[in-house]
């Protein structure tokens, strides 16, 4: 018998500027995680915010390949995690963490998102990224954190976490 596939796990809306948002004690009964971000940053410029699994800040434990547009289209790669970019203008991102509760796989991630650049062409950003956390541990927490301390997550930013059953 089919079962309801998506379950809302947690929802965070910031009530003030914060340096990071953390989802902890993530329910382990699902197979994939979907994180929906609708957020902005406090800096006048665009800044990247890293998605960390289980609080792991060692960037060499991550791998990323990206297709992005910010005035021109490019592709790059890094030993780093996927990075939603935030600006004063609202950005929307969907992050998939696949097989997060499995203990026999690294954790593949997919990110798709954009900042439209309505108020300034400097904010235009479109991102399609694939990531991997080179660890077989089950994911029990997700942290969205600023990089380098130059910006914060603005008040009113929303982060919704869903679990996908299998």
């Amino acid at each position: 018998m089919p079962t309801n596939a998506w379950s809302p796990l947690a929802n965070i809306t910031t009530s003030s500027a914060v340096s990071s948002v953390v989802f902890s004690n993530i329910n382990q009964t699902c197979r994939d995680l979907i994180l929906v971000i609708n957020a902005s940053g406090t800096s006048a410029s665009r800044y990247g915010f890293e998605v960390l699994l289980n609080g792991d800040t060692t960037q060499t434990n991550y791998s990323r390949v990206r297709l992005a547009y910010e005035g021109s289209l490019y592709s790059d790669t890094a030993s780093a995690t996927i990075i939603p970019v935030m600006s004063p203008e609202q950005g929307s991102y969907t992050v998939h963490v696949m097989d997060y509760s499995a203990t026999d796989k690294h954790k593949p991630m997919l990110l798709r998102g954009n900042v439209t650049g309505v108020t300034s062409s400097n904010y235009v950003y479109l991102d399609l990224s694939s990531g991997r956390w080179a660890n077989t541990a089950a994911v029990t927490s997700l942290t969205i954190s600023e990089i380098g301390g130059a910006s914060s997550i603005a008040s009113g930013s929303s982060f919704a976490l869903y679990g996908v059953k299998s």
């Binding site: 309801n4 197979r31 791998s63 694939s130």
Partner: protein
């Protein structure tokens, strides 16, 4: 409006519970719009993975596969291939992606032996534990008045040199018949050249219309 729950023991007053809601203490039944239909986690190496979708037409409008896959190829990556209704036909395809150095785009069919390439499955020479993610959407899967659109979001953030990728791909199944089966295999140049390894996972979801 309230409701009473009556018990077999006691009188009418002592054996009853008064609820102010018609739910009478039960949880709200909220029919889902996205259902998990089935999951296949391979327990051994398998060349082709096929799903019979014919019983789903009455209930669902769109379908989604969520796949985490790896093949036994000797290289660092291998292409995912999809066939619809087991037809070995060339269908229109478009892609937009990046390999970590350059963006790329393309269009055109893929010869006569498969329907769609969805880059790129992790290969057997990649580090242990590496698997590639795929999200495959099939829109109006059971329509008999439209061609069917299949789109994929996929990537391979492997540590294996030269095999990184992220891409969006789309396929048009130029047939008015409903989709009855979806099959997945791997091969850089043809259908079923390599095999999915144990642990590869295929989950099918139905979206109600």
């Amino acid at each position: 409006m309230g409701v009473y729950k009556l018990s077999a023991s006691g009188g009418l007053k002592t054996g009853r519970t008064l609820y102010t809601s018609m739910l009478a203490g039960n949880e709200v039944f909220n029919p889902s719009s996205i259902d998990l239909i089935t999951t296949n986690v391979l327990s051994s190496t398998q060349g082709i993975v096929t799903f019979d979708l014919s019983s789903l037409a009455a209930t669902y409008k769109h379908l989604q596969f969520r796949i985490v896959g790896r093949t036994n190829t000797n290289g660092g990556a291998e292409r995912m291939r999809i066939r619809i209704n087991n037809e070995a036909v060339a269908e229109p395809r478009h892609s937009l992606g990046g390999d970590g150095a350059n963006p790329y785009s393309g269009n055109g069919s893929l010869g006569t032996d498969s329907s769609i390439i969805s880059d790129r499955l992790t290969g057997g020479s990649a580090a242990s534990g590496e698997f590639a993610p795929f999200i495959v959407d099939i829109l109006d899967a059971f329509s008999t008045t439209k061609y069917k659109t299949i789109r994929t979001l996929t990537g391979n953030a492997t540590a294996y040199s030269g095999e990184k990728s992220v891409s969006l791909q789309s396929l048009l199944y130029t047939d008015l018949q409903a989709i009855g089966t979806m099959s997945f295999s791997s091969g850089n140049t043809g259908w079923n050249q390599q095999a999915f390894v144990a642990g590869s996972r295929f989950s099918l979801y139905g979206i109600r219309g």
